[in-house]
Amino acid sequence: MTQTAAPPVARVDDDGILLRRPGTEPLVLSFDGRYIWAFSPVRDGSVRGSGVMVEWPAVLRRFLTGPVRVTVASVGGARVLVDDEVVFGGAEGSGRSRVAVVDPQGLPLAIDKVGHLCRAFDATDEGIRAEILAGTKRALDDLNGACGVRAYLNYGALLGAVRDGAMIAHDSDTDVCYLSKHTSPADVIAESYRIERDLRRRGWTLLRMSGGDIKLLLPLSDGRQCHIDVFVAFRVGGTFYQLGNRSGRLWTSAILPLSTVVLHGFEFPAPADPEAMLAFVYGPTWRVPDPSFRYTDPVAGVRRLDGWLRGFRTDMPKWTEFYATGRAQRLRGSSTFARWVDRRIPPGEPVADIGCGVGRDALWFARKRGRPVRAYDFCRAARGGLGRMAARRRLPIDVGMLILNELRTVLLTGAELAREPHHLYARQLLGCLDDDARDNFWVLARMALRGGGSLFLEFSADPQLPAPAPAGLVRRLDADVVRREIEAAGGVVERVRIKPGVDILDEPDPAVCRMRVTWPRITAVPANGRNPS
């Protein structure tokens, strides 16, 4: 990279920002005058020589090729450390257009307080901002009305309302919370399921992020979606918990009865004592703007919330990213396992593809073999792509959600397949599951196949060999362990073979196990309940 003028107190290059006299105050990074990121040199940097190096966040690196004016300054702009024209990417960057941190539609992005690239409110026009605020108000009305809980504006939107009556420039979404009256996490989760159904009935599209966190997807007139997080707050054993990850002491009188705050002319329900809530969330210095703020939640509280509410979508972001890559998208045509299975089941009989991914085999079973197909996956992006392709080609494929770490979807899918029997097809699924999910998978197979049909499995075997692709998402399993699990669940392994084959990405794999499994039909227990001797 080249730099036109070296500032005396800091240097910017392809690695990051080297601060020679960093100080402790948060700093704001702008490209061509637009806010990109706020950081704390002490928290985000590492010692480099006599200075502190703050490396570029991973989410920003892909944009850093080409020229741009880089400014690094204190939050109010009174102290400017860098204000220079910089060319990133060396010789390649010199010939490129200016660095633009934007989404595929060209809309400006910034890094939010949890490290994600989002559109910040200072880059949002007034009309869109009004749509977001109206949508947030509708969500709160639905929660306080139809859902019957006490819901309030919180986090950045509450902070902006109390401090200035306006959204915080560098914030990117709105968050609401409701106070549950339940004191057992199981009841809190069951209530959240009910609220989810109520909100869907009222027309909301939403995603479940944990047992106490729902993300409402609000469509905007510029084609984007705004996310409104609905977080639960509850009390267990004297400790107050509020999702994301907050925990500590906050009296109920700080929340109820609800008060109101005004934000850009919109009136919202708020905690009874908004200042007490903001001090609980952001600490005693909440009145001083700090765009680099990050939560420092009690570790014990985070661990409790993880155990109670989370664990069913741990790998989902990684799989979503994987399915978006060219390598996954290029997987077309049937796998060798699909053709192997097709030869072993009568023509025309239906197949349920469990963990269908991009759906290459589901499409082949439907299109080339004329089989009715049900295809299940936990990844929304994968299901969406397959559903659109099936609809375009008018293929008989029903695409559904199945989260094998969530018993609700397992039992529902089991009930559906028990009524409409399908052969179960699971290519390279087992190695993607943890022990709990694998247990649930055997429950599903037992339910679905109790009236007949077979389960066909293919997975990478021999745990002594290197892990197959995609790295970190799939592991090898011992075929004997799998057999014992199947037998413990009442299944019968009718055929097993281990040979060289291919992994998910069709790359050679020296040990691929194929199994055909059935479950004996359920027979009546003798009237006296005893086994014949």
């Binding site: 057992s184 996490p185 199981a186 009841d187 989760i189 069951a190 399921y193 989810e196 159904r197 869907r200 479940r208 047992g211 661990r303 409790r304 993880d306 155990g307 109670w308 509410l309 664990g311 069913f312 559904g400 959600m401 969530e406 018993l407 609700r408 979807t409 039992l411 529902l412 009930a415 559906e416 009524r419 709990d436």
Partner: protein
Amino acid sequence: MNSLLVTGARSRVHIAQNRYRRMRRHPLGVRARLAALEAEVQENRRLNRRIAELTDVVAELLVPLADRDEKRVQEVLAAYRAGL
């Protein structure tokens, strides 16, 4: 006599070795016990979500499915899936 003494000593060594091996299998250090305890508590915490999931399925699915009215059953299954 000597042989009896040797045998007795060998037995005592074997018993001591066995006890040591057994002790090694059950870490007594506070840190090890704490880590094991934390893992077991976390395992119990996970039951909350399982109870909630089962409660939801029983309340929303199992009771209506007991109607044995196939049309109604299909409606209930479809409605439950739409609510997930």
